[in-house]
Each structure stands twice: as C-alpha cells, then as structure tokens.
Subunit: 151 residues, 2 copies
Amino acid sequence: MNNELITKLLELAKIAATRNEVPVSAMIISPETGEIIAENHNRCEELKDITAHAEMIVIKEAMQKLGVKRLDGYDLYVSLEPCTMCAGAISLSKIKNLYFFSEDKKGGGVINGVKFFEQNTCHHRVNVYPALKDEFSQILKDFFKNKRNVK
Amino acid sequence: MNNELITKLLELAKIAATRNEVPVSAMIISPETGEIIAENHNRCEELKDITAHAEMIVIKEAMQKLGVKRLDGYDLYVSLEPCTMCAGAISLSKIKNLYFFSEDKKGGGVINGVKFFEQNTCHHRVNVYPALKDEFSQILKDFFKNKRNVK
C-alpha cells in the first residue's frame, strides 16, 4: 500500500461529496510501477445510473485504456468496501489485490454480506486487504448527516 | 410472461453466438405496455470488457432512454440466470420482476451461489420467476462445445 495513493483516494472521495455523489472513490494501480491507470468516484447522480459506482467506472476505464478484457495482476484501491455488484465485477476482471479503507456492514459484499470471494461461484479469488481508517468512514457519515439536515 | 418476447430473447442470444459472444441476452420490458425498452446481448468480446454482460447493458440503456436513475416497476427478461454482479445491479436498479430461462449452477447468483435477493445486504428484493426451457440451455451448451472443438 502506498500512502500517497491513499491520500489521493480520500481527496477524490471528498470531491464526489461536493458534487452530491455518495463519496466513494476508486483507483486501478499498476503494482509494478505504481502508476494510476484509472481513478474516479461514484457518478450515479451525474450519469443518472445507479450502477455507476466508482469501482465499475475505473474497471471499465482501465480496460479501455489498456485495451484488455481483464485486469489480471492489477491492484484496486477503494475508499469503501465494495458492494455485491462490484465484488462480482472485481472477480470477473481478475484484479489481483483489493485494498479498501472503510467497511460497509449494510451493503458490503467482501467481508460482509455475501462475502463473495469466499464462495464457490467466485471463480477468481481476489486478495483482500481491508485497512480501515477513520477519515474514510467519516466522510460518508458527514455526507449522509448533511443529506438528512437538508431534507 | 409473453411468449413473443421469449422467442425474441432466444433469437438475440443466437445472434450473440454468431458474434463469438457467450450467448446470453436480456430485455427490459414495460409491464403495462409490453414495450421493449432495451434489448441486447453479451458484448464482452466486442467491447473488450468482461463486465459487459447483457443485463448490465440493458439496465444502463433503459435508464438512459427513460432518463431515470432506477427502473422501479420494470421487468427484466434474461436468457440465463444472472451472475452475482448482475444480481447486485438488478437489485440496485429496483427492477420489479426478473424472468430467466436457464440456470447457471456454476456462476449464478439468484437461485444458485450467493442467492443475493435472499440476503440481508440486498435492499430491494426482486420477484424471481425462473422458467427453465431446454432451448435456452442448449444454445449455451452448443456454444461452448463449438469453442472446445475449435481449440
């Protein structure tokens, strides 16, 4: 794990919040060079697409950029534990290592919920590194608290 | 369920096979009018994107066409039981009824595997109507048999 990337990931999630998007961010990283292949945040509001989660966007962007159908060997950094849909996509795309920095007890699909990478219907098991950090859960708490206050 | 739509769905899956795509097709239907809002097949090869499953494509297309972020009340017809990723997307998009016509014991996430719609981390439970028909499983068997013979 690279601390500079983690700081950048947090900044990206904060940008999402300013755009009224749920503040979740993701990056695809080359583990050899440390290069960021793709970085983005949730864009469900902007794209009017409830499936436009940060992970889905960066997986697609990285595949397009690299001209490949899968991301074998690449790392994925996500600010929040991926949901079931994204866990499925991460496995399909054959990402090697998944790092995430806050937990989603209600909607997560990696260390919570369906724990997809532990199931028999998961045909590529991603290495999972949860590295929970208060600042990542705090931006989500702040975002939803603000939303409730506005209503 | 509408037999004309089922026939059309099967034809669409067959078209996929001729394009070297895994023959899986999907349609979003308005239950009131019977109108097909979106129809497509797997396009993983064409788009070089392993997440370009038929369900993901039609969900996105239907949201774009209708200008909405979710598909509350709509029906989804799929030739094959959706995988875990697609089950997650189907729930997020709030589709009302899911009809599918072949089972995926190895990779399904609806009546097999994680059975996502039965889990606590699934916040919109879709009505599930499996209506298994031999011709739908047969096109998949034929496709993979041909693939093996070509190798």
